[in-house]
Symmetry: C2
Subunit: 218 residues, 2 copies
């Protein structure tokens, strides 16, 4: 991992992304603890050596999968941040894009999910604890993006709920839900994903009390 030039960093990332994807698939299918490093290696058609050359431990590998998943999320909603006046319109766009990202990068998002509830405990080494807090921070700051817009929407009088904290939790949960109950078709039709995302988004927005007149174009 002692790379020097930028190009070498680039190629290293490429090699690692291959590993990341295989790891995400394994972790999604069997969970973190039930997946062995050998499982990941087997999926890559290689051996442990390759993985341990790039990652110091299984926990490190998982952390990188988690981080990558969160990066995908952050990148997806980034273009929307300064592009709307109406908070409801902004929330609509963010929700839809978030849900679509969930569906398109499902293995990584399942890992993010497991990481939240699983790595919290498990209390491994002291320095991994530190990494974990950082990852948890990524997730929280992402959620706060939504929470702020939800609060703005409430101030505009177009919603009706009490606690924005709770509302944000249920809201995101509704948007995340398809990564659990949706199994991608053999024809991974992007139209199909769009349909699912639309319905989830509409449900979530209506859940906040946003009127149906705002939901025609979702």
């Amino acid at each position: 991992m002692s790379v020097t030039s930028d190009s070498e960093i680039g190629t290293a990332r490429i090699h690692q992304e291959e590993i990341l994807e295989a790891a995400a698939l394994c972790f999604m299918e069997r969970g973190y603890n039930a997946s062995s490093i050998d499982d990941v290696a087997r999926r890559l058609g290689s051996t442990k050596g390759r993985i341990y050359h790039h990652y110091r431990s299984k926990a490190d590998l998982f952390a990188d999968v988690y981080r990558y998943g969160m990066e995908l999320n952050a990148a997806a909603i980034k273009p929307l941040c300064g592009a709307y006046d109406d908070p409801v319109e902004k929330l609509k766009a963010m929700a839809k894009v978030h849900c679509l990202t969930m569906l398109r990068t499902r293995p990584f998002q399942r890992c993010v999910w497991e990481g939240v509830s699983l790595l919290m405990r498990g209390a491994t080494t002291p320095e991994q604890r530190e990494t974990l807090v950082e990852l948890q921070g990524l997730r929280e700051s992402y959620a706060i993006r939504f929470r702020e817009v939800i609060e703005d929407a409430r101030e505009s009088g177009k919603t009706d709920f009490e606690s924005s904290g709770i509302a944000t939790q249920i809201f995101l949960m509704a948007l995340n839900s398809p990564i659990f109950w949706y199994s991608p078709r053999d024809t991974d039709d992007d139209e199909q994903l769009n349909e699912i995302a639309s319905r989830c988004t509409r449900f979530a927005l209506q859940g906040l009390g946003i009127g149906k007149e705002y939901l025609q174009d979702v």
Copy 2:
């Protein structure tokens, strides 16, 4: 496990329920795979021997936790089944009770959740596979109860969604969500739980498109 009389079955259940609760707590905190039988035993202040006297394997123990959790769910909504004319009112009641049960029996419900996504894979022994299908069936038939009422509500024209399958999934997800983001207060105030359940229920019903005029008394 070779009990004979009814009373002995009763006492056996009592002893086992103690184990079930400890197991549910362990599985909730660290997940199934990360929890060892010794962990469960330690929480009970005993040793492996006690657990393996009542359960033939770790998977059997987990299955019983799962089953118990589903029994709690089924028992909670049972009184509501024939008590309503308006499907929307029935759905309201079922949703509220379901959400409250989630909150009150959180450790078991977390196990039910993990069981769904984790035991599906993992493909252990062939006969455990059989048990697993049975448990999966419990969960599905429970979900169908909701789906039917949701379909009735749609036919009454008080909702607006396309696929009742997807709607049911998101609906239940919204109601289940607090078992993940709600940490019980030291004062396990039942009023507090009621408040959470109310908000989740309102969100879920609104998500289906049910008008706010129906949600005053939730």
